[in-house]
């Protein structure tokens, strides 16, 4: 299964209701207006779209959006098709 960073950025912008163009890899989620509830919504969307279940507790240790994106892409890509 494969997910692109662009697909994930679209989901994040939609779920968090933030401008897609403001999403910078080096910015902390909170600085981008992405709250914890939005992260859970993103994970629900990933589960629905790719069938991959990811726990939210894996994410808070990550400092910025880029790390979150890399982690999500890796988890989705590692899932069996």
């Amino acid at each position: 299964m494969e997910a692109t960073e662009n697909e994930l950025l679209d989901i994040i912008a939609t779920e968090a209701i933030v401008e897609r163009s403001t999403l910078r890899r080096d910015a902390p989620l909170a600085d981008l207006g992405i709250q914890s509830l939005d992260v859970v919504s993103v994970l629900f969307e990933i589960e629905e779209r790719w069938g991959v279940t990811i726990d939210e507790e894996d994410l808070p240790l990550m400092a910025n959006l880029g790390q979150v994106l890399d982690y999500l892409v890796a988890r989705i890509d590692a899932a069996p098709a």
Binding site: I17, G33, Q35, S36, L37, V40, E56, E57, P60
Partner: protein, 280 residues
């Protein structure tokens, strides 16, 4: 508007708009999911941040429910300039504010009220809050007492385990700008607002949708029945299964959004999204 203002708007295509109102100590961010779903159905959405919210308890205690209503009225006026028909939907205090607006503004087309709360008498509140309420309520707004606050107990109005875990672990809270503790002075204002809604209910002739979780941990369904009895216009009351107090974000959030959209005159949606089941 303050530097903490997190209100937002989404432009729709239907010619209909909805003022989405967050709950006491809540923030606009808790309405995002509902806002997205209504927007997908064509509604224009405005989600104001209530006065005194988004910063800290001190700011909240400087406001009354009339200030909160002013915030809702501001969003209503803005929507009236943008669409032909305006509705209001809110959770808990947010729903009560929608009704207070309906009593004052007959041009508001309808209201949806989720988890109406006259009293915190749900199954998870009885042990401590309900026991204290009889002596607490008369003094809740006295100096010093009004600053005393309590934390919403686990499971935080959430039946969905993922959301509940996130609420427990998120360092800054699940919702950006929401307060973790409810000061008694603000609870006093909630009670005053509830009294006001009962007093003006006979003037609310618009259609009202009341959704309440049968297992609401914070406010018993009797609150919904009490509200229905106070209103003059047509009321549709549905008890929702498999959810707790935070109906608009919890397990049945898709069904809550869909029911609201249909009540406000949206066209039938296609297949409901995940975990959706019609309430009631």
């Amino acid at each position: 508007m303050t530097k903490f203002d997190r209100g937002f708007a989404l432009r729709g295509t239907l010619g209909k708009g909805v003022v989405l109102v967050h709950g006491l100590t809540g923030a606009p961010g808790e309405m995002k999911y509902l806002a997205r779903q209504l927007h997908r159905r064509g509604f224009h959405v405005r989600t104001p941040q209530l006065a005194g919210h988004g910063a800290d308890a001190r700011a909240l205690l400087r406001t009354t429910w009339r200030d909160w209503l002013d915030s809702v009225q501001g969003a209503f006026e803005a929507l009236r300039r943008e669409v032909d028909e305006v509705f209001a939907a809110g959770i808990c205090v947010g729903g009560a504010l929608g009704l207070a607006l309906a009593a004052e503004r007959p041009e508001l087309a309808g209201v949806a009220v989720y988890s109406m709360t006259f009293r915190y008498d749900g199954w998870n509140m009885r042990r401590w809050y309900s026991a204290a309420a009889p002596w607490l309520e008369p003094i809740a707004n006295l100096p010093l007492v009004r600053r005393i606050s309590f934390r919403e107990p686990y499971p935080f109005g959430l039946k969905d385990e993922k959301l509940r875990e996130a609420a427990q672990k998120a360092a800054g809270g699940l919702i950006e700008g929401a307060l973790e503790r409810l000061p008694l002075g603000a609870m006093y204002q909630m009670h005053r607002l509830g009294q006001h809604v009962e007093q003006v209910g006979a003037r609310v002739s618009q259609p009202v949708l009341i959704l309440h979780a049968r297992e609401d941990d914070m406010s018993d369904p009797r609150n919904a029945l009490r509200l229905r009895a106070a209103l003059a216009g047509p009321v549709e009351l549905r008890l929702v299964e498999d959810s707790y107090h935070m109906l608009h974000v919890d397990k049945q959030r898709d069904a809550v959004a869909d029911t609201t959209a249909l009540f406000f005159g949206a066209a039938e949606a296609g297949a409901l999204r995940r975990r959706a089941r019609p309430p009631g």
